[in-house]
C-alpha cells in the first residue's frame, strides 16, 4: 500500500478523499480522519501564513507515512498539508487512515499527526486582525512529548 502525500496551496475536500480511498472496496472496516483548522484565537488572528520547504516537505511526510504503513496494517493512508495564507475556519492539514479494524486506523492517524507536527518542514506566522504581521509561532514542547511516546 502506497500512502498518498500531497503538499498544496489549494483547499482539500475531506469527503472526496475518503470517497477516493474507499471506492469499489469492501475490505475496509475503519476510516479515521483528522482535519486541522485555522483558529482565530479569540478574534486576534486574521490569517495564518504557512511557509514550507518544497521538496523536503513531501519527502519528510512521505517518510513518516511509510513508517506508519510499516507499523500498522493499513488499507489506505492519505496526508495532505497546505501552505500559503489560510484564514480562520480554513483547513490546514488532513490525515485519512483506513484499516480492517479501528485501532490501527486511530493509532496510525495520531502517529502521523504527532510526527508531522515535529518533523514536517512547515512554519506558521500570524497575521493579526489589526493588519500587522505578528511573530512566527513557537514550537510547543508538548508536541515533542506527543511524538516521543511512539518511540
Amino acid at each position: 500500500m502506497t500512502p498518498v502525500v500531497r503538499i498544496q496551496r489549494e483547499d482539500f475536500d475531506l469527503n472526496a478523499e475518503v470517497e477516493a480511498l474507499t471506492r469499489d472496496r469492501t475490505d475496509i472496516g475503519a476510516i479515521v480522519t483528522f482535519a486541522g483548522l485555522c483558529r482565530d484565537e479569540g478574534g486576534k488572528l486574521a490569517a495564518l501564513e504557512l511557509e514550507h520547504y518544497p521538496g523536503m516537505a513531501e519527502a519528510e511526510i512521505g517518510r513518516v507515512a511509510a513508517e506508519a504503513v510499516e507499523r500498522w496494517p493499513l488499507n489506505g493512508l492519505v496526508a495532505i498539508h497546505r501552505y500559503g495564507l489560510i484564514r480562520p475556519g480554513g483547513q490546514i492539514v488532513l490525515v485519512v487512515a483506513a484499516s480492517r479494524h479501528r485501532r490501527a486506523a486511530f493509532e496510525a492517524a495520531e502517529f502521523l499527526m504527532d510526527y508531522l507536527k515535529t518533523r514536517a518542514p512547515f512554519w506558521k506566522r500570524e497575521h493579526l486582525s489589526d493588519g500587522t504581521i505578528g511573530g512566527w509561532v513557537e514550537a510547543r514542547a508538548d508536541d515533542d512529548t506527543a511524538a516521543a511516546r511512539w518511540n
Partner: protein, 93 residues
C-alpha cells in the same frame, strides 16, 4: 602547489522562517573551507560572516538543519552534501 579546487566545497544553503529573515536571503551558494567538516563547523563559519548570520545562529542549539532534505544533527558530516537547510523548530500541522 595546492589545488584550489580541493580547498573549498561548494554548497547550496537554504533558509526558512526567522532564520531566513535574519540572514536576509532565502538561498545562496557558498564556498566553504574544507576544514569545516560538520554542520556545526559550517554554522561556526557562517557566524563569522556578518551580524545577520550571528543573529540567526545566536542560539545555535535551537536552529535545525537538513542535508539534502533529511533532518540531521550538528555533528553530521558535510561530505557529499549538496543542499544544506537551516530553519527554526517546525510548527506545521
Amino acid at each position: 602547489m595546492i589545488d584550489s579546487q580541493a580547498e573549498t566545497r561548494t554548497l547550496k544553503l537554504v533558509y526558512f522562517a526567522w532564520v531566513r529573515e535574519r540572514i536576509g536571503v532565502a538561498e545562496e551558494t557558498v564556498e566553504v573551507p574544507h576544514e569545516a567538516r560538520t554542520v556545526a563547523d559550517l554554522v561556526d563559519w557562517l557566524r563569522g560572516r556578518d551580524e545577520g548570520y550571528e543573529m540567526a545562529f545566536e542560539n545555535a542549539a535551537i536552529v535545525r538543519a537538513a542535508i539534502d532534505h533529511v533532518h540531521v544533527k550538528p555533528e553530521a558530516s558535510l561530505a557529499g552534501a549538496r543542499e544544506i537547510a537551516f530553519f527554526p523548530p517546525m510548527t506545521g500541522g
